[in-house]
Amino acid sequence: MKALWAVALAPCAVAIVFAGSGAAALVSDRPLVWPAHAVTLSEAMANRDQGEVVRQVTGGVSLDARYSVYDVIKPGRHTPSTPLEAAIATREQYMFDLALAYGAHLGPDNARVLFCLAAAENATGIRDDLEKKFGRQDCNGVSLPW
């Protein structure tokens, strides 16, 4: 009865796809199914991808430059931002702290923009932390990165 193969079809198809993907990953370090796409440092930050952030930083990528962020902060749009600004977009204190721990510059020269961005993005933990370090900032006339 040929119809019996209908029972085996889906399991075999899934197994073959992932076996091919797994074999490719073992050979080329890149699986066929769900490979990692190249991202900028700020994109990794906006994706909450701590491992990728550390990989790029230890590989020499600067935490203080501005990089394009596509389709994360604003759907379907390029949003140039620094890693600290991208961390604010996640509203996650641990991402902001990660950037600082690995050497991102935070000083009076960029604290105001970051504070105002955190306030605008409702990243309250980060905003309060910045306020503690640099005092309350006046956001009148501050131009935000997005």
Partner: protein, 468 residues
């Protein structure tokens, strides 16, 4: 001598097993060594000078756990990593991936497919094996190796031994399997349960002398644990566990059941057993109720519960029926082993429920599903074949979900390393140069292993496969 026409399906069955195994190994190998529950054990292994010393350190280093082979295995893999020039990922994850391959191939061996109908049923059985929610935990977690996987592997190996032609070497191997399993994890006792269940169903591979030898090992273990080391078992409030549609923190368990923990223990045992049959509750928690209450049922619940209900019904049909010779199938070794293990495995979950604790019962559930599907396919009717194809497809979806979940685990495990050896916390770095060198190397290997963050995964994936 078997005819070529009988050889062909067997070769196909092993090839099919290998295809499943390679896919599993490929996804396991993508997961960086995790920090939680693993780094501490690896660092402990660095402090002991030899394998025998690591074995000794595993005896008496905990008031509840007697797991010297876990310590020894970790030490051995650190040594292998050293010998490979500091390639610890290759040592640990290579071992984990290989253990997965062995388990899948043991499953094929236990299924013993001989015809094309058997091979068709095997495809279904393998999808059930790898799609089970109890299976994924054996590969998504490692401490730094996964001892639940070890127990399932030795249980399956013992079942194979019990169904072999026997001999003194088989007996010796069965005794060794039990000893290794017991000294790896307390639920290694399940290996003995498998041997006894096989004997009860008239499998004679392991002789009475072999069973007596296993009993002796068990008695020795009990004396070592209870008499000599005066150890206690895991008790109330040591882990978070599910309770109906919620979860109980350790302090809540003590507050609610401190005076009489029996209702919680009974709940845990019953729910652990039910979870194998229905895919719910998950770790003791009826997550489906919470999901229904909050935002309606997503496809993952329909696929998981639906496929489990139908597969359990298929197994019940099989177990209650008779074979071609008119013998009751409830004495079938696979049925007896599954039912006995389900009870025993649920029982060892009394203190708290975790999906992978019942992983061994899950493996034998898949074996029973295979046997039931094979029986159904021997007298195929269009409607039943169509229904089985539907169930099989649902399990294939769950199998794909295993790989999705392992990608998520890889992301989480890699992320954990960002908080280790932070540049702004050099005072907290290990003072011992060897320890610092190994942890640095582990971090570098984990960070280098690129994988997609959840944001790069398909939007629909979580609703079909869940996030956990």
């Amino acid at each position: 001598m078997p005819s070529p026409s009988r050889l062909e399906p067997r070769a196909a069955a092993w090839a099919l097993g290998l295809v499943f195994a390679v896919g599993l190994a490929g996804s396991v190998y993508r997961i960086p060594i995790q920090v939680s529950d693993a780094l501490e054990t690896i660092e402990r292994a660095l402090a002991v000078p030899s394998l025998s010393a690591s074995f000794a350190s595993g005896i008496g280093n905990s008031p509840t756990m007697l797991r010297p082979l876990r310590e020894m295995r970790t030490k051995a893999l650190v040594d292998v990593g050293d010998a490979l020039g500091g390639r610890y990922h290759l040592a640990f994850r290579g071992y984990h991936a290989l253990a997965g391959v062995v388990l899948v191939l043991l499953f094929v061996g236990a299924a013993a497919p001989r015809t094309w109908t058997d091979v068709t049923a095997l495809a279904f059985g393998l999808a059930v094996l790898t799609g089970m929610h109890t299976f994924s935990g054996m590969f998504r977690e490692a401490y730094p190796t996964n001892h639940f996987l070890t127990i399932s592997t030795y249980a399956l190996a013992t079942f194979g031994l019990a169904r072999s032609r026997g001999g003194w070497m088989v007996d010796a191997a069965a005794v060794a399997c039990l000893a290794i399993a017991l000294l790896t994890l307390e639920s290694g006792v399940l290996v003995f349960v498998v041997a006894v269940a096989a004997m009860a169903s008239r499998s004679r591979g392991i002789s009475r002398a072999g069973i007596a030898g296993m009993l002796l090992v068990l008695a020795g273990y009990a004396y070592l644990r209870l008499g000599y080391l005066d150890m206690r078992t895991a008790g109330l409030g040591e882990h978070v566990t599910g309770w109906w549609s919620g979860r109980l923190e350790p302090s809540e368990q003590v507050a609610q059941f401190g005076a009489n923990p029996l209702p919680l223990y009974a709940y845990n045992v019953v729910m652990a057993g039910i979870s194998v049959l229905l895919s719910q509750p998950s770790a003791g928690q009826w997550t489906v109720v919470e999901a229904w209450r909050d935002h309606g049922l997503s496809p993952v619940f329909v696929v998981e519960i639906g496929s489990s209900i139908l597969t359990t019904a298929l197994i019940v049909w099989y177990a209650l029926g008779r074979d071609d010779m008119g013998r009751r199938r409830r004495l079938d070794p696979i049925v007896v082993a599954f039912v006995t293990l389900l009870g025993a495995n649920a029982f060892v979950s009394w203190a708290y429920v975790k999906n992978e604790i019942v992983g061994t019962a899950g493996v034998f559930y898949a074996l029973a599903a295979y046997a039931a599907a094979r029986a159904l396919l021997l007298r195929p009717k269009a409607a039943t074949v169509a229904l089985l194809a539907l169930v099989s497809t649902a399990w294939a979806v769950r199998d794909a979900g295993l790989h999705f979940k392992m990608r998520h685990t890889a992301f989480v495990s890699r992320s954990e390393w960002a908080a280790e050896l932070m540049p702004n916390e050099r005072n907290d770095w290990p003072a011992d140069p060897r320890r610092l060198a190994v942890v640095s190397r582990l971090k570098a290997e984990a960070i280098e292993r690129q994988g997609p963050p959840p944001a790069q995964m398909p939007d629909w994936a979580e609703s079909w496969w869940g996030e956990e």
